[in-house]
Symmetry: C2
Subunit: 214 residues, 2 copies
DNA sequence: ACCTGAACACCGTTCAAGT
DNA sequence: ACCTGAACACCGTTCAAGT
């Protein structure tokens, strides 16, 4: 990758390439789409492309980071929002059901990160930051009383992000038809892990009073 | 892939190829290892290999199915075993920490299933079966009283397998060093979702008796 | 300074030719 | 019947040559 003189042109070229790549990846998947196709879609030659991206893997990394920045914004909005359970379920539903759109890319990126250690390392940092943001949102929820106080916020955040990764992966494997079932399971999960104990079932005020068995 | 006359030879050749492939995949990852390497390791020519496997993808599928049969056996042993929580945590620890061994293969397989629809379909069936086995084990645990009765066994099984997928993926990305933390998080998850409510903390016999707060 | 596109090394897979 | 290995089409990437 040669040094570039005009940062504005470089910026523009990178955008064009990323845009073209996203179209190709969405259509045919990351490994099926060839660099030549991407070049054609972007309207430049192979040599030119490699002035702006050092490798094919680096293109998905860039896309992945954009994608993750969007998710980070979503998580940030949770911190502000009222019902953290509802917010998380909505995010999960997005992740699982919006399979026709950006999601194949996310799956591809995760897959790629699994085998490319360099990509994985850059990715791990973003995951950590996302987890910390979520942990802060959860801690805030605990202070407000909308989140069960007995969970460690870091652990809870780790669990939620793990579960979302699992959802992404599973949704990619089982396809869109299983989406609602997955979203429902995720709701159960969030309720069990984050909902305050006295609000797990609809309107039980105190567990000592109505505990049914024994 | 030509028709084969001697099923015993075919079986043996397939084993040799799978064994060679596992060595290569473990050493260099699925996409980095070439068919020529695998052929060399198996001591046969490219042409011969393709008499026994229709494609490279089919080799990992075979490996994946073996791997999954082993996991199924593990799950089956849960149904028999005493403490389902402990069993699951052990499985998770295996999945996360045994990164030097078979695990890179599992990650590769998941990654591959994410983009190969044919592989994904064959894989989805196995996932479903595993989930059903686990659901039965959970239901049995509920009858025995070792699992919280208010969870739907199918939902719980789905959640556990989702979480394990997340663990596999995350472990592949963050590497072995984060393993213990992940295992600890998984324990929290299992306890929240499966442990009977009165046994969440160590050695409380009945919640009505010793429930501390209020 | 920026781009082109033929060329390079390599990939998964095939198939005519051998035994 | 089973195998070999050169050949095929294609891949991601590079680089001499252009403007």
């Amino acid at each position: 990758m040669a040094r570039l003189a005009d940062p504005a042109l470089a910026q523009r070229r990178r955008r064009e390439i990323v845009e073209a790549a996203m179209t190709c990846f969405r259509k045919r998947g990351f490994h099926q789409a060839s660099m030549h196709e991407i070049c054609a879609a972007a309207g430049i030659s192979a040599g030119a492309l490699y002035r702006y991206f050092p490798s094919k893997a680096d293109i998905i990394l860039t896309i992945a980071e954009e994608d993750q920045r969007a998710t980070e914004a979503l998580i940030e909005s949770i911190a502000a929002g009222a019902d953290i359970t509802e917010s998380l379920v909505n995010i999960a539903r997005d992740v699982v059901c919006r399979c026709g759109e950006n999601q194949p890319l996310t799956a591809d990126v995760l897959a790629e990160a699994m085998r490319d250690p360099a990509l994985a390392k850059r990715f791990a940092g973003r995951i950590l930051e996302m987890q910390e943001r979520l942990a802060r949102a959860i801690a805030a929820g605990q202070r407000r009383g909308s989140v069960e106080r007995s969970v460690d916020p870091d652990t809870a955040a780790r669990l939620v992000t793990l579960m979302i990764d699992g959802l992404v992966l599973r949704a990619a494997i089982v396809g869109a038809e299983g989406g609602e079932q997955l979203a429902a399971a995720f709701r159960t999960f969030v309720e069990r892990v984050l909902k305050p104990a006295q609000a797990t079932s609809p309107r039980r005020t105190a567990r000592l009073v109505v505990s049914p068995e024994s």
